[in-house]
């Protein structure tokens, strides 16, 4: 016989510029600091580079581009929040790791359709002292790693993928 449990999830929060964001803690793999990235020329603007983590080669992205993060980003000194999206791992470059917060689903405000952050933000939570933007990592990552067209490289074009 099962009992109904209040739907409360733990969110791993971090700062980007002057805003606070969070991802579901069940998708967090690790936090890396001061890890050297391998730059990927011609990659999408949101891709900062690649890093090696536990046998995997993991793309690190800059969510600030997609989330329009503004404010002091001087502390952006190589803190990478490594998360899993499906079977893949990605790194989010963040300015500062904050705390893990427990948030009842009922307290999550759904974003308005006109949000400039689009579907990358699944909701917001009023933590009293600050507003926490709860991210949808899948949509966020997809929008950041999508290659932009450049100097005629035929992505999916008539030459195929080789």
């Amino acid at each position: 016989m099962s009992t109904a449990t209040p739907s409360v999830r733990r969110w791993c929060s971090f700062r980007l510029g002057s805003d606070c964001f969070a991802v579901d803690s069940t998708g967090v793999v690790e936090v890396l600091r001061s890890r050297r990235l391998t730059h990927v020329p011609l990659a999408a603007a949101g891709v900062l580079g690649l890093v090696h983590l536990r046998g995997r080669i993991v793309p690190v992205v800059d969510p600030a581009i997609r989330l329009n993060a503004v404010g002091d980003r001087s502390a952006a000194a190589g803190t990478h929040l490594m998360i899993s999206v499906g079977d893949d791992w990605y790194g989010l470059s963040v300015d500062e790791m904050l705390d893990v917060v427990e948030i009842p689903d009922a307290r999550v405000e759904r974003p308005t359709a006109a949000s400039s952050r689009g579907d990358a933000v699944a909701g917001t939570y009023d933590a009293g002292t600050r507003l926490v933007h709860l991210l949808d990592p899948g949509h966020l990552i997809h929008s950041l790693v999508r290659p932009a067209p450049h100097f005629g490289i035929p992505c999916g074009g008539p030459h195929g993928s080789g």
């Binding site: 391998t38 891709v47 690649l50 090696h52 080669i57 100097f151 490289i153 035929p154 030459h159 993928s161």
Partner: protein, 183 residues
């Protein structure tokens, strides 16, 4: 992600844990609209020449040796102090695992040179594929990649040596890669 860019065939991890991108030369040519180059006649000869290319190295005992290019997985450079000892084995850490390290002089039946290199900082390692895992061959210096002037003379084989080949007019011992990998 890399595949979508069309100019990378992938990425791999170096001995120091860093990531390196692998270029897709055909993709790069397509990216800049280079027309395909037709092979000249004599394809078979060209293919044979490519197969008979060797990496030429010098061992710590000063022997000039060669390894078939097709047998080489990659080249690495490590700090000598990063070599770890576990029982009879010398190991180099690579990512989450270790690559066993063999001394080419020992493969050739000579004693390893007790060298001052342990205090210097550079160790050149030629990585080949072993029966169970990759194996690193420590050499004093990597000299060149040279195409053979003539086929390998297996009659001049010796312990650790598959034969001798003429490279740039110089008789050069070719390492028996299978024996080296089994060290």
């Amino acid at each position: 992600m890399l595949a979508g860019l069309g100019i990378y065939s992938g990425a791999t991890v170096l001995g120091d844990g860093g990531v390196v991108l692998i270029l897709d030369l055909r993709g790069m040519a397509r990216a800049v609209d280079l027309p395909p180059i037709e092979r000249e006649t004599g394809d078979a000869k060209a293919a044979t020449a490519a197969a008979d290319r060797y990496l030429v190295c010098r061992t710590w005992r000063g022997r000039r040796i060669a390894l078939p290019l097709g047998e080489i997985v990659r080249l690495e450079k490590h700090r000598s102090r990063d070599v770890q000892v576990a029982g009879p084995h010398r190991l180099i850490r690579r990512g989450d695992g270790f690559t066993p390290l063999a001394d080419v002089d020992r493969v050739l039946g000579s004693a390893s040179v007790a060298r001052e290199a342990d205090t210097t900082d550079a160790l050149n390692v030629v990585v080949i594929r072993g029966p169970a895992s990759d194996v690193g061959l420590a050499v004093e210096r990597i000299l060149d990649v040279v195409a053979a002037d003539a086929p390998l003379q297996a009659a001049l084989a010796a312990p650790g040596v598959a034969g001798t080949v003429s490279l740039g007019g110089l008789a050069t011992e070719v390492i028996d890669v299978a024996a080296a990998a089994a060290q």
